[in-house]
Symmetry: C2
Subunit: 163 residues, 2 copies
DNA sequence: AAGAAACTTCTTGCTAGCTAGATATTTTCT
DNA sequence: AGAAAATATCTAGCTAGCAAGAAGTTTCTT
């Protein structure tokens, strides 16, 4: 407080404003670090497998599901997509013959999406490539201890800010 | 190695596949933690100030620049936008009377964007609100030590994966 | 000084994903 | 049983941002 009258290079900035600035810059660093890494990861994946980031995400979730299958709504929610948005992603994946739709016998509102054989192979290869890239671009630079701490911090943020 | 013959709940998964899975899941946690937090932050900002996330980012960068002014190309690069994409963001900000374009006297290829008075006020208020939200939703849950470690990890990732 | 090369901005057309609302089905309540 | 509410998917129209390329300006080379 009380430096309002002294004009320095950033024109008359109060201590409080400087504080705000520091915090916003600090979070900007998080944004940049995250995006740089994620974009590099996705650049390699999309180039090697001809998948969009959204499609890759769906495939990985499906390949981990029992019978490689999940109801549309559940999958959309997991992937943080709207139902309308997910319909289009699913359309594209069906067109690429990576998944197919299957009606549910017991509840006719529900449609399952299921990996095709081609989709399962692609998903497994892409997941393996993803892990390899992550070892190289994230785990190696950070080291195991910092990696563990990063995960812990993110877990905290997720729980603190969920819904 | 050597567990291929024993079928467990995920149908015959090798150790290597389990390893891949663990890493991909670990990074998925980072994605989720980051997005949850960022979305909550942006939800509050966009609601209070009628700004898109991209517009907010531009405004904050401008309010920190000398004379509240920057060449289009430099600003686009800082904000990780393509030049075409940035033209449209700038169009919207001009329409909202938050910035204006100004030709450069010495190099007629260059156009500056400059905060209007209204833009400067909005940017300062939004930055202050952003800092307040970050204190509440990020710094408080993490605590100072973990916050410092998070920034350090992100700095490492940024440098490791730049360009 | 003339032409080539590089740089900056803007235009055009495209894609991904969202919101709102339509339709069909199931569940719940009376 | 039948009305009302909830659930699941799809459709239509919208927005943000990208990529490619057009057009103008400057700088470099001869």
């Amino acid at each position: 407080m009380g430096t309002e009258d002294i004009a320095t290079t950033p024109p008359q900035q109060t201590d409080e404003e400087a504080d705000d600035d520091e915090i916003v810059t600090w979070w900007g660093l998080v944004i940049e670090g995250y995006h740089t890494t994620q974009e590099r990861l996705m650049a390699e994946i999309t180039e090697r497998f001809d998948l969009t980031p959204g499609a890759f995400d769906i495939l990985v979730r499906l390949v981990r599901s029992p019978d490689y299958r999940m109801p549309m709504t559940k999958l959309a929610k997991e992937a943080a997509l709207s139902s309308g948005g997910f319909t289009k992603v699913a359309d594209r994946l069906v067109a690429a013959e990576l998944i197919r739709r299957e009606p549910c016998e017991t509840d006719r509102r529900v449609t399952y999406v299921v990996l095709t054989d081609h989709g399962r192979r692609t998903a497994e290869e892409a997941k393996h490539a993803c892990a390899e890239i992550l070892r190289r671009t994230v785990l190696a630079p950070l080291g195991p201890e910092n990696s563990e701490r990063l995960a812990e911090a993110m877990r905290t943020l997720r729980t603190a800010n969920a819904e």
